[in-house]
């Protein structure tokens, strides 16, 4: 039974004129039979949420890394006033002791006036610092990449000024690191939930589409179509729906991040704006962040297709 046979029926002179051009064949699975709009909306929302989560995690991580490097390259020393000692002399001696330590590149003792300005937000202007036992601050910059001998520095400083204490902000850095870790962890948790919700929604949509198209699947089985052939025809629709949803959700999130700088500028000066600026810096995503969001949108479309394929094969097993 191959192509070498002649025609099955010979119509003789009745033979119709064969159209010269190929016909536009209808799709095996009609597009309208798959309720795609709801699925596109679900995938778009999920992609949007996932993109916002990823973008925020990237922003927080980048800002935290920036703070950490800034804070880690700085140490501060406090010299407290002590009865029977000249605070001014102690500050100068301690600053000098600090300067001689290897790895210290710049030492800046805060003068009386500068200390008063630091306290102005709390104590108001016109303050006479002489009347208060206010400690004096000395800030030093550490050469990046050097490991400072903190114990040696403390010894050297306390020898000349017993009331001096050195803080390398280690506690702060640790707290920041754990905060960043918690943000990333929460972000990953949200992403996992979003992906799980996407898979479940897609599975339901696929099952619905298969139920609506059961007669088509049965006929395709009758004419000898294998499961792979049938699944591929459904899969095309779901991949397209997934890509559409991913594009809409991911695109909206990217636009959101694109406009965030302008939005941050509108809010600058307000308490909320300043908090955000302190937390997330300029609120602008680097190009690699946009690339990550695009990859994520494509990944969600791929997950949509994969979930659909899995459900398709499971459902095809039940239809014959």
């Amino acid at each position: 039974m191959g192509d070498e046979h002649g025609p099955l029926v010979d119509l003789g002179t009745e033979r119709p004129q064969v159209p010269a051009r190929a016909r536009n064949m209808s799709p095996i699975v009609p597009r309208a039979s798959i309720s795609g709009r709801a699925l596109v909306a679900v995938v778009a929302i999920m992609t949007f949420l996932a993109s916002i989560t990823t973008g925020t995690v990237l922003l927080v991580s980048a800002s935290a890394a920036e703070w950490q490097s800034e804070v880690a390259s700085e140490i501060t020393m406090q010299v407290r006033p002590q009865a029977g000692r000249d605070l001014e002399r102690d500050v100068i001696a301690a600053a000098e002791a600090m300067r001689t330590q290897p790895g210290i590149v710049q030492v800046k003792p805060f003068s009386k006036d500068e200390s008063a300005r630091l306290l102005e937000p709390w104590l108001g202007s016109g303050l006479s610092i002489e009347q208060l036992p206010v400690p004096r601050v000395v800030v030093a910059r550490v050469q990046p990449g050097t490991t400072l001998d903190l114990a040696g520095l403390r010894r050297a400083v306390t020898q000349v000024a017993p009331s001096a204490s050195v803080d390398d902000h280690r506690a702060w850095i640790e707290r920041m690191r754990s905060m960043t870790g918690a943000t990333v962890f929460a972000g990953i948790g949200i992403l996992v939930l979003v992906i799980a919700a996407t898979i479940i929604s897609v599975s339901f949509a696929t099952r619905g589409a298969m139920a609506a198209n059961r007669p088509i699947v049965e006929v395709l089985h009758f004419v000898g179509a294998g499961d792979r052939y049938i699944a591929n025809h459904f899969l095309r629709h779901f991949l397209r729906l997934g890509l559409e949803g991913g594009l809409i959700g991911g695109g909206a999130a990217m636009l959101g991040f694109g406009f965030s700088e302008s939005i941050a500028a509108w809010f600058s000066g307000t308490p909320v704006g300043d908090q955000f600026a302190a937390l997330l810096g300029t609120f602008s995503l680097p190009p690699s962040g946009y690339l990550a969001l695009a990859v994520q949108a494509v990944a969600i479309a791929a997950i949509t297709a994969w979930a659909s394929r899995r459900t398709l094969f499971a459902t095809l097993d039940d239809i014959d």
Partner: protein
């Protein structure tokens, strides 16, 4: 080509509706399958089409034990079998032409390679003018002819037809019988399930009679 040995079939926990069926369907043979309503003709056709598996016994199709076939192998085997069902099973979103061409499409053939063949066959079954019509607007007889055309278009090795002339007038019935005979002449084994004595009287062929779940063969 087809060998049944002591085949029995029951649905669920119900009584056995086909019992101890043992027969051969040789290649190039032609037979009518007949019997009263509810005798199990459609169930036997479904067994032959691999859409149900027997409860017991051996079914061997094209030299293979069907109980050992995987889903892909069943799909491949169905490409060698044409089936016409009583409820036609045409796809409503496809034109008559597309429905008839579906087996070729599933085989992955180019439309240009089968276009003439499909149009010729549609003309032959009297659907030349209805090629671009969708099944919902076809009459019962037209649907039946389209379903027959779809079953025979790829010239299967085995053709199964369930009451194929039930919805057509006697003249067209004779014409469709000629199509089945022609197909058989070209090498297809044909099994036509029917109650239509007139149809059976028109062609001298083996008769398989199902009665109370058992099969009697009259050569």
């Amino acid at each position: 080509m087809v060998r049944f040995e002591n085949v029995g079939l029951r649905y669920g926990l119900g009584p056995e509706i086909l019992r101890d069926l043992t027969f051969l369907i040789p290649a190039h043979s032609f037979q009518f399958l007949t019997g009263p309503s509810g005798a199990g003709k459609t169930s036997l056709l479904r067994l032959l089409f691999l859409s149900i598996r027997p409860t017991r016994g051996l079914v061997n199709l094209f030299g293979q034990d069907v109980s050992l076939l995987g889903k892909d192998q069943v799909a491949n085997m169905r490409q060698k079998i044409g089936i016409v069902l009583q409820d036609f099973r045409l796809l409503d979103h496809m034109t008559t032409y597309e429905n008839v061409a579906l087996p070729f499409r599933v085989m992955g053939r180019e439309e240009s390679s089968y276009r003439r063949e499909v149009i010729d066959l549609l003309k032959w079954v009297g659907l030349g003018e209805r090629m671009d019509a969708l099944p919902p607007i076809l009459s019962g007889g037209e649907k039946q002819r389209a379903a027959i055309a779809r079953a025979v278009i790829s010239r299967p090795q085995l053709l199964l037809a369930d009451e194929p002339t039930g919805s057509v007038d006697p003249t067209l019935g004779r014409r469709l019988l000629r199509l089945f005979i022609e197909l058989n002449r070209l090498g297809t084994a044909v099994i036509i399930a029917t109650h239509d004595i007139t149809l059976m009287d028109q062609y001298e062929a083996r008769r398989m009679v199902l009665h109370q779940g058992r099969l009697h063969i009259y050569e």
